[in-house]
């Protein structure tokens, strides 16, 4: 075998180490984030799931008790109030903020003057924390100093507006404040949707003599129907996670009348030292989110595929 042959039979020369390192760089850079996200999403969830199946009370312990925590959670009157509130609140909050948001979007869409200024006004609550909003509204609801006092000062002396301090109506105080905060968000998304509708469609309808009302009902709103669903899904998410707003506005009261699941989790874990049951409640929150988001994600993927198929 000549030297020549030998050289030829040698496998392709190894790539220089710099190049090999170079091709590994993306993975090395991404690695820490991947690990962190994996831990955050899967390990943390699994961990809390495990705690929810354990006999943890003041500190996490790992004696397995099966579904006991879930049983006692669902037997608890306060949890009952919490998820009833969640359903009630979600319904009004979503419908209310979408209705107001849509109205504002349509109003602004009428080529009004100073559009940017109107938009800025309706959206600013989103920049502010729920803590700030909740605190300020709790003052407005205060019967001695707030809206009630104002109207009575006008001479309507038996006017009553003490939402936040009445256990039957406090949930409406949360709803009103929530709608106030979130309508601008719905407006922004609806407006973006209305603006993205093909103007030729609108022009065609106008030439056919359709009234503005008909154009909205028959052309514009059906076209932006997916946005309605997107807004609703996002609002449901907010509703399920509602914590700050209630913490600042009513603190879950009066009594326990405005307890929400998120408030309940916090209370069990950090005030009452019932970590196991608190974890069970947290898992129920996650389950509620999954019930909403999993079908929605499938629907979004399905729609994209369909669109891609048509395109």
């Amino acid at each position: 075998m000549s030297n020549h042959d030998l050289i030829l039979s040698v496998p392709a020369p190894a790539r220089p180490w710099r190049e090999r390192l170079g091709s590994a760089v993306p993975l090395l850079v991404l690695g820490p984030s991947l690990v962190a996200s994996f831990v955050y999403v899967f390990v943390f969830t699994g961990w809390t799931l495990y705690i929810s199946l354990s006999n943890s009370s003041l500190l996490p312990t790992y004696g397995f008790v099966g579904l006991d925590n879930y049983a006692s959670l669902w037997a608890n009157r306060r949890w009952n109030i919490a998820y009833t509130n969640l359903f009630f609140f979600s319904g009004f909050y979503i419908v209310g903020s979408m209705a107001v948001g849509l109205l504002l979007a349509i109003l602004i869409d009428q080529r009004v003057r100073g559009e940017a200024a109107w938009r800025t006004i309706f959206l600013y609550p989103l920049a502010v924390s729920f803590i700030v909003t909740g605190t300020v509204w709790s003052w407005l609801y205060n019967p001695v100093d707030g809206i009630q006092a104002l109207v009575r000062g006008f001479g309507w002396t038996n006017f009553s507006f003490a939402l936040a301090s009445d256990r039957h109506y406090a949930i409406y105080a949360v709803i009103i404040t929530g709608v106030w905060q979130a309508s601008g968000f719905a407006m922004a998304l609806f407006l973006a949707g209305l603006r993205s509708v093909d103007q030729d469609l609108v022009k065609a309808a106008q030439i056919d003599g359709a009234s503005a009302f008909r154009i909205y009902r028959k052309v514009l709103l059906p076209t932006i129907a997916p946005i309605f669903l997107a807004v609703a899904v996002i609002q449901i998410q907010f509703a399920i996670k509602t914590f700050d707003l209630v913490a600042a506005l009513t603190k879950g009261g009066p009594g326990i009348s405005t307890t929400f699941p998120a408030i309940y989790v916090y209370d069990l874990m950090f005030q009452r030292g019932q970590i196991g049951e608190g974890a069970a409640a947290a898992i129920m929150m996650l389950a509620a989110l999954a019930v909403v988001l999993v079908p929605y994600s499938f629907w979004v993927v399905w729609r994209r595929r369909k669109e891609a198929g048509h395109g």
């Binding site: 969830t45 809390t48 006004i121 600013y124 700030v132 700050d244 913490a247 974890a279």
Partner: protein, 301 residues
Amino acid sequence: MADVSLDQSLDHRAATVAARRHFLTRFVIYGLLVIFAAIYLIPLLVVVLNSFRDQQEIARNGLISLPRSFRLEAWGQAWSSYCIGGTCEGMQRNFYNSLKMTIPATIISTSVGAMNGYILSKWRFRGSEALFTCMLLGVFIPGQISLMPWAFILGNLGLSNSVYGLVLIHVIQGISFTTLFCRNYYVSIPDDLIKAARIDGAGFWRIFRKIILPLSSPILIVTVIWQFTGIWNEYLFGVVFTSGQQQPITAALVALTASGTNVRAYDVMSAAVLIGALPPLLIYLFGGKYFVRGLTQGAIK
């Protein structure tokens, strides 16, 4: 001749009816807008005015009333001398805590997100889409799920009751958001640009520095605004993992307004609320366009 004038007068009448109708519609549109604007602005106005009113005057005339007194002291008190739970230092420490938490967490999570987005859009490898989907799940996990694990981890790292612990939490939590934002933006940068650069011998970092980064300012602004307002306004982790002097401003505001004295110091509390609301409000006013863009992008994608 007569016919023509009749036609004209009919036209004229139709025109006036149309004009009247047009005017009426415009009136209704602007009227509704003004009513809603009032509903949105009055709470803010009430707080601003009350922060300059005299406490006794508020007690006498109610919260919602035109100011009949003017003083600046409430701001000073809220900033540096009002008592919350025994310590009389106002909100300044909590304000700085929020800054110390928000600025590093925003910078780190945005930088990491930009790198991740760059890799997941321009250096795809087998399985990278699946990994991206897994990272996305982080966006939806409610904070309550991670409370116990974080308590354990922060305790073991010696970061409980510390602003740095909150920085860690917000960085890890924020990565899913920032990666999502940046990745979806970088996808729209043509791959041919990257290919051409690679043929010219540019590597991973050079392409990022010379091509991606100069094109990134819109998405980086959106991401920074989103992260800053989100982290500044966050309450749950702040109230769970810090106490007293270590609390960020949101948690301190709740403690302040809950501290039940007989006379409610609405003037000082109003100023305190505004101090807590001001940084994100200013960002919103000056970067409104980007704020809205982040909102709609974060929502629809």
